[in-house]
């Protein structure tokens, strides 16, 4: 085939159609919240003492960290969806872990050492490892679908970051059910659960985000 013929053919289809990548991503994030909410309220629901829990800083901190993870991952994902993505924004992803590290240091200063282990292991760790990926898997799927409309030149990394975003959204919901509020617990089990989604995202993204 001659390139001139290809150009003549492509020119017939000049007009750009369909939503922009940002619009597709925004729609995917909205859908991700709806899907996460459906699974959360269908399977788990908030803990019974949520009103009292909201008055405690440890409970509230879980939402702040999860929101920080989701927002920074979204900023990175939006950048990665474009071919000329620079890696500069990836540093943002350190924000949520840094907040957690500070919270862990605060917890270790505030709580006697004898209690550390009980707070670290908690009572819900298996549930946490199961529920966050369960809540986050459908959001991850819609986020990856939206990324396919983009032109990510780093498919695996993009998939992993989509997993972090799905994990942040899932953690926002799961945190309302979970009765383990210690930063020691959150830094360990929430992080592991989110990493499961990031790993799935990297594996799947490496396949479906090529173009």
């Amino acid at each position: 085939m001659k390139t001139d013929d290809l150009i003549a053919t492509l020119a017939r289809d000049a007009r750009a159609a369909g939503p922009s990548v940002s619009a597709a991503l925004a729609a995917a994030v909205a859908a991700a919240f709806v899907l996460a909410a459906v699974v959360f309220f269908g399977v788990l629901g908030p803990r019974p003492d949520i009103a009292a829990a909201l008055a405690t800083i440890r409970f509230d901190l879980k939402f702040v960290v999860a929101a920080a993870l989701a927002l920074t991952a979204l900023a990175c994902l939006a950048a990665l969806s474009r071919p000329q993505a620079q890696s500069g924004r990836l540093g943002l992803l350190a924000l949520a872990p840094a907040m957690l590290a500070l919270a862990v240091a605060g917890e270790m200063a505030a709580v006697p050492q004898a209690e550390w282990q009980a707070r670290w292991i908690g009572t819900n760790n298996v549930l946490c490892l199961l529920c966050i990926p369960t809540i986050g898997i459908a959001p991850l799927a819609v986020l990856l679908a939206a990324m396919r409309r983009g032109a990510p030149t780093r498919p695996r990394l993009s998939g992993a970051v989509a997993g972090l975003l799905a994990g942040g959204i899932a953690a926002l919901f799961y945190a309302a059910h979970c009765t383990d509020d210690s930063p020691l617990f959150v830094a360990t089990w929430y992080s592991l659960a989110v990493m499961i989604l990031a790993g799935i995202g990297a594996l799947v993204g490496g396949r479906v985000l090529r173009w």
Binding site: M1, K2, I7, L10, A11, P19, R149, W211
Partner: protein, 177 residues
């Protein structure tokens, strides 16, 4: 000079996205010339150059909505070209050693193109019958979208959709070869 080139190309692409087919053909031809110059430094022969140029043009076409109308166009083209060239050389078992750091310095290649070894007929085999009818009508028979729609008894929109999907299937086929 470089800024002027970019502004001109960006203007053409903006016009193209608003539906100006002639502007789009000029944009693609200008980009193809730059791509050819960039790829030629490493490719083994002219057909291989043209393969990669065509894969990149298809990718640019299918991903043109990822360009923002207010940003420079050459860095965007360069990023897509880099991705496709790395992929193409990897498939051929070679590392991409093209100096792709500063695409904006690459001047269009004056030489004429060599035809790609690929045959449009083989590319069309990958398509569904409806897509094949639309792509053949537009590319081989040279009909317009409106003519194709009336000949095939489809709406303009359905023709555009089938054409777009057909091109995407051809791009996948190129990538698999």
């Amino acid at each position: 000079m470089k800024g002027a080139d970019d502004a001109e190309l960006a203007g053409l692409l903006r016009a193209a996205m608003a539906g100006d087919e002639a502007a789009y053909a000029r944009f693609l031809a200008a980009v193809a010339a730059r791509l050819r110059a960039m790829v030629r430094r490493q490719a083994h022969d002219g057909a291989e150059v043209e393969d990669i140029v065509q894969e990149t043009l298809l990718a640019i076409h299918l991903k043109r909505h990822t360009w923002r109308r207010d940003e420079p166009v050459l860095p965007w083209v360069h990023a897509i070209a880099r991705y496709k060239a790395i992929d193409a050389f990897r498939r051929r078992g070679r590392k991409c050693e093209i100096d792709i750091a500063d695409f904006s310095e690459t001047l269009p290649a004056p030489e004429a193109e060599t035809a790609s070894a690929r045959d449009i007929g083989r590319a069309l085999e990958a398509l569904s019958p409806a897509q094949r009818a639309v792509v053949t009508s537009l590319s081989v028979q040279g009909r317009s979208i409106a003519e194709t729609a009336s000949v095939l008894g489809m709406t303009d929109t359905a023709v555009r959709v089938a054409f777009h999907r057909g091109l995407a299937a051809i791009a996948r086929r190129f990538g698999a070869d």
